[in-house]
């Protein structure tokens, strides 16, 4: 089956926060596109939806799900899938993405991106769920690599092997979160550069950049938390530039979801990403 694919421009975009509306509209060329969290726009009506209807006429919109629970060992929530279909149908976003994680279980929705072991069983569930999502919305989706804080002794393959299999079996694309590469590899005491060099870059449809928080584990080793509440750190910018030199310009999002700064701070992060994309465009 062929699905509608990603049409987001290979520019720097930003995670949309209503408090930045006026500034974004005052200088619309400063951002190439906007990303919204799907679940915030699943109400019946009201000013948030009205704002999104207005914005979609002016910017390409990327729709980023945070509640599907793709990595769940149980079935996807049919009602939630229907809500997503309704949103995607009217919004007609330039892309849809979700996480390699789970958040729903019998006890409820846990509002966090929880990890799963990389096993055949998880793989089969994730593949089934992505098939179901892509069939429901009639589009290719992008799957995002997670930030993880723990490892599983049950895992029988690496994250890269897992993602390769998912792409091969579902035809989905990948959303590469460069901050997540840095966070996960630091936490697992592995090399972010090696992870990046092994990543199936041909399938990347979007890049995420964000900030993280630094803590330590019980042994005094670094424990980075994907907090989305700070500027992108230099090692992440370096990984990003390495990536872009290999791939050429890619749609790149600055994610800042907590302790949301004033627009100039966020706009500066967008400019930094745009500068790297422009350098690559000139070099190419």
């Amino acid at each position: 089956m062929s699905y509608i694919t990603n049409t987001i421009p290979a520019r720097a975009g930003v995670g949309y926060k209503p408090k930045h509306l006026d500034e974004i509209l005052a200088e619309p060329d400063a951002v190439g596109w906007l990303e919204i969290h799907a679940e915030n726009y699943m109400g019946d009506g009201g000013p948030q939806l009205a704002q999104l209807r207005y914005l979609r006429e002016r910017f390409p919109i990327s729709c980023h799900g945070v509640g599907l629970s793709i990595g769940s060992d149980g079935p996807l929530d049919k009602e939630h899938l229907a809500r997503l279909k309704k949103l995607v149908d009217w919004l007609n976003p330039a892309l849809f993405s979700e996480h390699l994680a789970w958040s729903t279980h019998d006890i409820g929705f846990l509002n966090d991106l929880l990890p799963a072991p990389y096993t055949r069983e998880t793989l089969n569930n994730v593949v089934d769920h992505i098939d179901q999502v892509q069939e429901t919305i009639g589009r290719q989706m992008l799957l995002e690599n997670p930030s993880v804080y723990v490892m599983f002794e049950q895992s029988t393959m690496s994250e890269i092997e897992f993602l390769n299999e998912v792409v091969r079996r579902t035809g989905c694309g990948l959303l590469l979160d460069v901050n997540n590469i840095f966070v996960s590899n630091t936490n697992q005491q592995t090399s972010p550069e090696e992870y990046l060099s092994a990543f199936p870059i041909a399938h990347i449809g979007e890049v995420h950049l964000g900030g993280h928080d630094e803590q330590t584990d019980d042994f005094g080793d670094p424990l980075l938390i994907d907090s989305h509440n700070a500027p992108v750190v230099d090692p992440v910018w370096n990984l990003y530039e390495t990536l872009i030199k290999r791939t050429g310009a890619l749609p790149t999002l600055i994610e800042w979801d907590n302790d949301i700064p004033d627009w100039p701070v966020l706009a500066n992060e967008v400019r930094l990403a745009a500068a790297i994309l422009n350098r690559q465009n000139k070099a190419a």
């Binding site: 019946d44 009506g45 009201g46 948030q48 006890i107 409820g108 929880l114 723990v150 042994f219």
Partner: protein
């Protein structure tokens, strides 16, 4: 696997799930606690953003502790965090540390209704001529369709004043009388009002009854209920979406 992982997130007394480790297979310890913390903190924040007046009344420290109990007992049933917290007013009626604040659950009901009103379906107002054009003989049987965002909260306490005191610059003293709160969102802003018993009865009744029956009920609740005045006010506020 996920059952054990999920249960441990809400119960700090449970051990780290089997097979969950840190680098070199050492104990996960604080690493698993990151997820525990993320879940409880993010749900507590969601509850705080839904119930700002409750937080103002009891204070942030107390609210966070109380929310910690609530979110572990009542995690969200759906991924729509814009609606999370619908069990909170009922929880407050049974949470002993706030039993001396009898009005608190009703203030929470007002805050919940505000959020539901904010996200309610949109509807265009009915042109005012439609009321004038109604045949006088049919007035009693006319159906008034109200805006979907309207909510009415009745309380034994002066919760409209309590809400206003804690949310706006209007610091008028809070009386002792019971109050009705009417919440609506005809366009972009949520509007808070303190309707009379007759108006509240009229609106509640219109959801099921034709206008004449609603008027009779409103007059029973408030003998001086003014039908024309109420209709004009509802129409000009954009809260009547159709008359048939």
């Amino acid at each position: 696997m996920q059952t054990e992982f999920a249960k441990g997130l809400l119960d700090p007394n449970l051990p780290t799930p089997d097979g969950v480790v840190g680098p070199g297979s050492r104990a996960a310890g604080k690493r698993y606690d990151v997820y525990r913390n993320n879940v409880v903190v993010s749900l507590t924040e969601a509850l705080a953003s839904a119930y700002p007046v409750i937080q103002t009344i009891v204070g942030k420290e107390f609210f966070d502790a109380m929310a910690g109990v609530h979110v572990r007992k009542h995690p969200p049933k759906s991924p729509l965090m814009i609606y999370y917290g619908e069990d909170f007013p009922a929880f407050l009626t049974k949470f002993p540390p706030v039993s001396h604040l009898g009005y608190l659950p009703d203030v929470a009901r007002v805050e919940l209704a505000r959020r539901q009103s904010y996200h309610a379906a949109d509807a265009a107002p009915c042109p005012p001529e439609k009321l004038g054009n109604l045949d006088g003989n049919k007035l009693y049987d006319a159906r008034i369709v109200l805006h979907p965002s309207i909510q009415i909260i009745r309380s034994r306490y002066p919760v409209f004043s309590i809400w206003r005191y804690n949310s706006t610059d209007d610091n008028s003293p809070i009386g002792k009388a019971r109050e009705i709160t009417m919440i609506s969102r005809p366009t972009d802003e949520v509007v808070m009002q303190n309707p009379t018993a007759g108006t509240a009865m009229f609106i509640d009744s219109l959801r099921a009854d034709p206008m004449g029956v609603a008027m009779d009920k409103a007059k029973a609740a408030q003998p001086d209920f003014d039908l024309a005045g109420n209709l004009t006010e509802l129409l000009s506020a954009g809260l009547i979406t159709d008359i048939k």
